[in-house]
Assembly symmetry: C3
Homo-oligomer: 362 residues x 3
Amino acid sequence: MMRSGAQALFIAEETNLSTSRFIRNCWYVVAWEHEIAADALFSRTVIGEPLLLFRTSDGAVAALEDRCCHRLAPLSKGRKEGDCVRCGYHGLKFDAGGQCVEVPGLDSVPPKARVRSYPVARRKGWVFVWMGDTGLANEALLPDNFSCDHPDWRNIPGYMHYDTPYLLIADNLLDFSHLSYVHEKTLGGSPEIARAKPEIEAVPRGIRVTRRVPDVPAPPFHLRMRPELAGTRLDRWFIYDFLLPGTLLMHSGGKPTGAAPDDLSQAITLHSCQTLTPETENTTHYFFQQSHPAAMGDAALTQTLFDSLIGAFNEDRDMISAQAAMVARSPGSTMLPLAMDAALMRFRRLVDEALAAEIAAG
Amino acid sequence: MMRSGAQALFIAEETNLSTSRFIRNCWYVVAWEHEIAADALFSRTVIGEPLLLFRTSDGAVAALEDRCCHRLAPLSKGRKEGDCVRCGYHGLKFDAGGQCVEVPGLDSVPPKARVRSYPVARRKGWVFVWMGDTGLANEALLPDNFSCDHPDWRNIPGYMHYDTPYLLIADNLLDFSHLSYVHEKTLGGSPEIARAKPEIEAVPRGIRVTRRVPDVPAPPFHLRMRPELAGTRLDRWFIYDFLLPGTLLMHSGGKPTGAAPDDLSQAITLHSCQTLTPETENTTHYFFQQSHPAAMGDAALTQTLFDSLIGAFNEDRDMISAQAAMVARSPGSTMLPLAMDAALMRFRRLVDEALAAEIAAG
Amino acid sequence: MMRSGAQALFIAEETNLSTSRFIRNCWYVVAWEHEIAADALFSRTVIGEPLLLFRTSDGAVAALEDRCCHRLAPLSKGRKEGDCVRCGYHGLKFDAGGQCVEVPGLDSVPPKARVRSYPVARRKGWVFVWMGDTGLANEALLPDNFSCDHPDWRNIPGYMHYDTPYLLIADNLLDFSHLSYVHEKTLGGSPEIARAKPEIEAVPRGIRVTRRVPDVPAPPFHLRMRPELAGTRLDRWFIYDFLLPGTLLMHSGGKPTGAAPDDLSQAITLHSCQTLTPETENTTHYFFQQSHPAAMGDAALTQTLFDSLIGAFNEDRDMISAQAAMVARSPGSTMLPLAMDAALMRFRRLVDEALAAEIAAG
């Protein structure tokens, strides 16, 4: 039933793995707020397009094409002048909307002298850009990344760069069975995670994955928060939405097996926001944070959890990079869909549908 | 006669220099025995295919495709469990024959869940894989690399990696005229080597090259074995079979000019086994050893000869790498066949015939 | 008028930016004289062709294809023997005209055994090669690089390697408006340079650009020669010929504003020779010197000016490399022609005309 149809689709999707097409009409995280200083030019590439970001005097963020219309020099090698940027090669000056306002040696500026500007949105520490049709930019589509900046939660903002296509990382985040193997000694701690069957539901622009793992040892990650749980068996949960274009919003935790359903007195509770932004076909920006309740510990705990998370994310990157290299050198190979791939297959279908809708809309 | 026809063929062969096709129905050396530990996973690529090698509890060597059938992760990033290997990404477990025997979370394993396995043969320290039709694997085709492991001979096993196509290295081994120039100060020592005309004969799956060089100074290489020969002139010989896919088996040596034909009392005698295994179109594994008679010296001599050989093989690699880089940037250039190329031309023809036969056989 | 027509042409030219075709019938600087030692082999690639250069016993320079006709090994890995070069692989020996004169093991040399030789010219420290039709090589076409070696002038010969197409560097040299921005703190010192309008005239095989910049502060570069000018305003000038294939010959300087036209008593006067030689489509050799009058200072001043020039040329290379990387990743992007591009557009048209003439001539 679902399996055989899904399998055919899945193989078709694999064929498109290295497609150069990305969804355009969506918000991509381009930076953490703290990455864009008040006085500096910041550059980052999103879905293959070079972007220049800088703050205007009111603290807002401008996003322009990082490529001068004159001789294609990167504007980010120039300098900020007030709310404008001046190209460092021949001195053309552009305002925050991308219009050229000065050409040295010319009395008037040709109207064609402009660079593309991109809608920007900011929410709870994440700075987003809209790469598609400007008229469709809609802040209602921003994800609810509340724990990134919330008085009840503590975290350290994280960033990693991947030399792999973003979909391979999305695959990883959509199938937590890998926790048992990739993260056996960090986030995992038990083969039971892989054995648990997640529920998958549709949510707007994404899916919700719920995985409950009863009666397992507390993983090393949890013991950093509650050392007193050593030796205790826990019921663990991972409940997350995974939303287009590639954002994970997750409640996770664990509490002693046998505790009453509403007794969280000895529980670990966490909230995580993570998002993937394709840099190019084969490279990806990964922004993430894992929050613990503010009441649960101080900055030392926050740092400990962050260090632990980085360790685990390096395990992921190591494996995904090896996988990506193997995929790249295996043009004729297909992947064998298994039950554990249900969520990633559904998400890839959402990506394909969104791409098809953009093509259909012209 | 032979020259003009050969020339036409030769140029046609050059056109195929960077072909991606390799002979498949043959034994390729994949490793020295000592490279494959009892408890570890070992990976190496042969003719473009990633291989995983590991030992089963009986000491035998299993060779599997190093690419999980599920999501294409390299199995070599997983771990050995008894006589099986478990993928480090999502935990699929494969037996030594490549069949998946466990999928975490599934009660039964889909029959399609398997990876390719390759016939393995082992002989005198060399571990071979058969990359073609399994039904054709035939140990009678293994080369006679006796001196690799023989009580009468001593050597140190060697390995080098080349960033060049294997045929350029085969060319080098098939024309020892280069000893006079590339190895002037190491293995060569005289322009007479280049002037000597080798005899070339057919042998099964290869050719035999016999080059005798009378009345030349002892080369530095020989003097390391017999310093007393300094100042003595020698009659030298190199007699080797060069066999498909790329194995050299050679008797070589020298004795004082004028000594009776059967008087080896002051002779240098050596036996060498060398083999080329294409890693990819443009990279090559090179396994080799140069043996001296055990009676001739102890481990110190063995080490001295090995160091000397490595020095000379670095001279080769330096030249062949420069040649390969020049070939790669010279798409329109052809090589000019000369008399000294007779052996390499015959061997390239054998390669072409073997490839053609495999194509014809489907 | 000129603008609209020029714009169409310009965009067409941009399309050819990464063309692999180069003008062949011209002199390219391949080396400074001092780079080619009496006893060594010297190799450098020009318009994609590997060249071997060496001196014969009379001090002349021979230029051969750096690729043995036998097996394509670089001859530069061999050795000089008298006025010949011997290949380091199989020992073929070639004379200074490229004819093979010895093949080890052969009694006679096949007539086809030769490598291409190139006409060489030498003038004032620059060694030139003619890459096109030998019969057209004409020393009357050499540029007048007099200050490279002249008793009235002092300089240090310079060389830089660029990982960019040569035309992007020519663009830079043809539009000094960049001095105001790229070299604001070194050669520039004022936005007035960008505002000044240069005159452009035709000269044989090139254009003459005259830019006069009245009443500006002395730039840091000038103050190194005449510290007493600090605080003084100068009238500056840059008068240069830019000649095919890519040579700049420039008089430049400055004198106190208000000084009589012929009063150079407090002037800075400089002469510079610079030339671009494409190495490959995407890499370039840059030979240059900036001379000051010998009477104006000693070796310490020469060194100071050279160091200052290198600093400024690194600023150029940094910007042009960033531009080239952006051009390479922006296949669909076009440049917007502005008034400041008049000289570079005219020069690119000369390049196109020369290429078209070579095609028409067969």
